[in-house]
């Protein structure tokens, strides 16, 4: 949209590129296309969830329940698969998305209708969703041999050389790129976060937009729930424990402002990829995996400090000489 976005994203992209090149200089195997595809595939769930989280953060909310939502949906579809092994995968996917969306909608309703702060709502639903998994599963695992081959096979089925899991992420990115830039909903999401007061004047219902954002985030968490459980071929209470923070971290690194209104699809995707590359590179470069936590923590701090600097308001523009020179109307 503006040169600012470009700089922020190009910078992150260059950082990722530099990182990859650095690794490649010592371990050329890392940049083999097959391995890069692997890294991407591994990062796909994070990309999908980060996009959902981005929408929520843009509307000045936060969704801490995504990982719990993912786990609950994953467990539910796994149990459905065990009970009804013949159920076709498209129906399973539809159930997962719908379940996730319903959970997201519950968050959204509490925020919209009862005006409870999002962080409180999703902190609460996070623990509730996790607890429900325990209740429905009785704490038991659903293991790979109990799942049908079609169920576990779908995300890894290859199509044009990439597994369906990767394609799901690509499709989500494309849909989001279009939604955020070319649909009224996308623009309202930016507007609501950027200036909720003004949004009301333009006929945008702030609460409703936040509700939709939570629902979208929930639906994506549901989808990821199925993909996750099918890919790792196991479902249990704790899957993706703490993943919500990684998702938020991806958004923050990608330059999504926690204060709402500022961010881009490209940023969120790059933020997720950055974390994915770091995570996959550590074992390869022989850095103890114990470094990973500290590295992603530092990345978050550097990213916010950098983004805040780039976006810092220099004050109101009153002096005529300070107004940005702008091109004449074409």
């Amino acid at each position: 949209m503006t040169r600012y976005w470009l700089t922020r994203e190009t910078l992150l992209a260059s950082a990722i590129l530099a990182l990859i090149l650095l690794i490649a200089s010592r371990f050329p195997g890392f940049v083999a296309p097959a391995n890069l595809a692997n890294v991407f595939n591994d990062t796909a769930p994070l990309i999908i969830l980060a996009l959902g989280q981005m929408v929520v953060i843009l509307t000045r909310c936060i969704d801490l329940s995504v990982a719990a939502n993912l786990a609950l949906t994953g467990m539910a579809v796994a149990m459905i698969n065990v009970a009804l092994p013949g159920l076709p995968i498209p129906i399973i996917v539809a159930i997962a998305i719908a379940m996730g969306a319903v959970m997201g909608a519950i968050n959204g309703l509490l925020v919209w209708k009862l005006a409870i702060p999002p962080i409180v709502v999703t902190l609460g639903t996070m623990t509730i969703f996790r607890g429900i998994i325990f209740l429905i599963s009785d704490g038991k695992w659903v293991n790979s041999h109990e799942m049908s081959p079609a169920f576990t096979g779908f995300p890894r089925a290859e199509f044009l050389g990439l597994p369906v899991l990767s394609w799901s992420a690509i499709a989500t990115v494309v849909i989001f790129a279009i939604m955020m830039s070319r649909t009224p909903l996308g623009r309202s999401i930016f507007a609501v976060g950027g200036n909720p007061h003004a949004a009301v004047y333009t006929g945008i219902d702030v609460g409703r937009t936040q509700f939709l954002a939570f629902t979208i985030s929930g639906a994506l968490a549901g989808l990821t729930g199925y993909l996750w459980v099918a890919r790792y071929a196991v479902a249990y209470v704790d899957i993706a424990g703490g993943f919500e923070l990684e998702v938020v971290a991806a958004c923050v690194i990608g330059g999504i402002s926690i204060a709402g209104g500022i961010g881009s699809v490209g940023g969120a995707v790059l933020g997720a990829i950055f974390l994915g590359v770091v995570k996959n590179a550590l074992p390869v470069v022989n850095i103890s995996p114990f470094w990973q936590l500290a590295i992603s923590g530092s990345a978050i701090l550097i990213a916010v400090a950098f983004n805040a600097r780039a976006g810092r308001q220099k004050g109101r523009i009153i002096l005529k000489s300070a107004e940005k020179p702008t091109g004449a109307t074409p």
Partner: protein
């Protein structure tokens, strides 16, 4: 103006009596909940009403509550610190590290508290000097602090703390009263006084209600916030001493997930997560409520995760129910 001053009327100091204000408060509601839980628990399990058991139960909340007091002030001022559990990990790791070089109990305590303070200062630097949002900064330091523990300790553990060190987390002052309980009471009183009886506490409320207005009123907003982050770090350091002493060992995964329980306690205690209101008595009662719920359910051997459903419902319920009630009342009035 002269005529105006002639007409000027007497404005009373207060309208409602103290008793009236206390009875209608959140704390009163919460206290009722706590008492109800206490009664239900005593009927549900024959083991509940036992001094030693109740004493053991306090370990479920004392360390969290120590942090919760400082966190309450931070949240009232409109900020948050999600890195507290990681500060515990780093402080504990530092103590264990010092232990390898022969540090004794006093040195260990000093190191734990100092690391806590340093971590608090680190957070405060990003939030107050660079002006970054605290939720993001502390999500970052949450990974960073614990990450450093992992780098130092890897898959190892520090053990062999001196016997005198175990006093903090395992010692008793008198009969069933533990050292941690004493610390809890002292810290509660100090924070109660600071928040409710000092100029500093007043500034915290003013900042939380309207940071711009507070700044325009001559309050040194950033300085107050800096101190609040320091205090939160210090409390995490104290909690690290207690927890390390109680466990008798340090691993980098210590206190995982505790930050969310602390925040839950603070919100349950009636602190507005958006800042501006809340009280220390509220936190004290909320600590007991959470301790009683988990202990009561534990006695019935209910798995921890099912307890967390109760806590989650409590968290949303205590905020949602009054609002639903008000909405229903408004509808009926129409």
């Amino acid at each position: 103006m002269t005529e105006a001053s002639v007409q000027s009327r007497h404005v009373p100091d207060r309208l409602n009596s103290r008793a009236h204000r206390i009875l209608r408060s959140w704390e009163a509601l919460l206290l009722a909940v706590a008492i109800a839980i206490f009664i239900v628990n005593s009927f549900a399990s024959p083991y509940f009403l036992n001094a030693w058991n109740l004493s053991d139960a306090t370990f479920n909340f004392t360390e969290k509550a120590m942090i919760a007091f400082a966190m309450a002030l931070l949240i009232i001022s409109g900020e948050i610190d999600l890195s507290v559990a990681s500060i515990i990990a780093l402080a504990s790791t530092a103590m264990g590290f010092a232990l390898q070089y022969g540090a004794g109990t006093p040195e260990l305590v000093v190191i734990g508290l100092t690391v806590g303070l340093l971590c608090g200062a680190f957070n405060a630097f990003f939030v107050t000097i660079l002006g970054l949002p605290s939720i993001v900064v502390t999500i970052g330091t949450m990974s960073l602090f614990r990450g450093i523990s992992f780098i130092i300790l890897g898959d190892d553990a520090y053990r062999g703390y001196p016997a005198s060190f175990s006093w903090f987390g395992q010692g008793y002052i008198y009969w069933v009263f533990t050292v941690e309980m004493l610390l809890f009471v002292i810290i509660a009183v100090i924070y109660g006084v600071v928040l409710h009886k000092t100029n500093f506490g007043r500034a915290v409320y003013a900042i939380g209600n309207n940071p711009t207005g507070a700044l325009f009123s001559g309050i040194r907003v950033q300085r107050v916030k800096f101190i609040l982050f320091l205090l939160t770090g210090l409390m995490s350091g104290i909690a690290a001493v207690c927890l390390t002493s109680r466990l008798g060992s340090t691993r980098p995964s210590i206190a995982t997930g505790m930050e969310l329980e602390v925040v839950t306690m603070v919100v349950l205690g009636g602190v507005n997560i958006l800042g501006g209101s809340g009280s220390i008595p509220g936190i004290v009662i909320a600590a007991f409520v959470m301790g009683l719920v988990t202990f009561g359910l534990g006695l019935l051997n209910v798995p921890g995760i099912v307890m967390s459903i109760f806590i989650g419902l409590l968290l949303i319920g205590v905020i949602a129910l009054p609002r639903l009630w008000a909405m229903a009342a408004a509808r009926r009035a129409k």
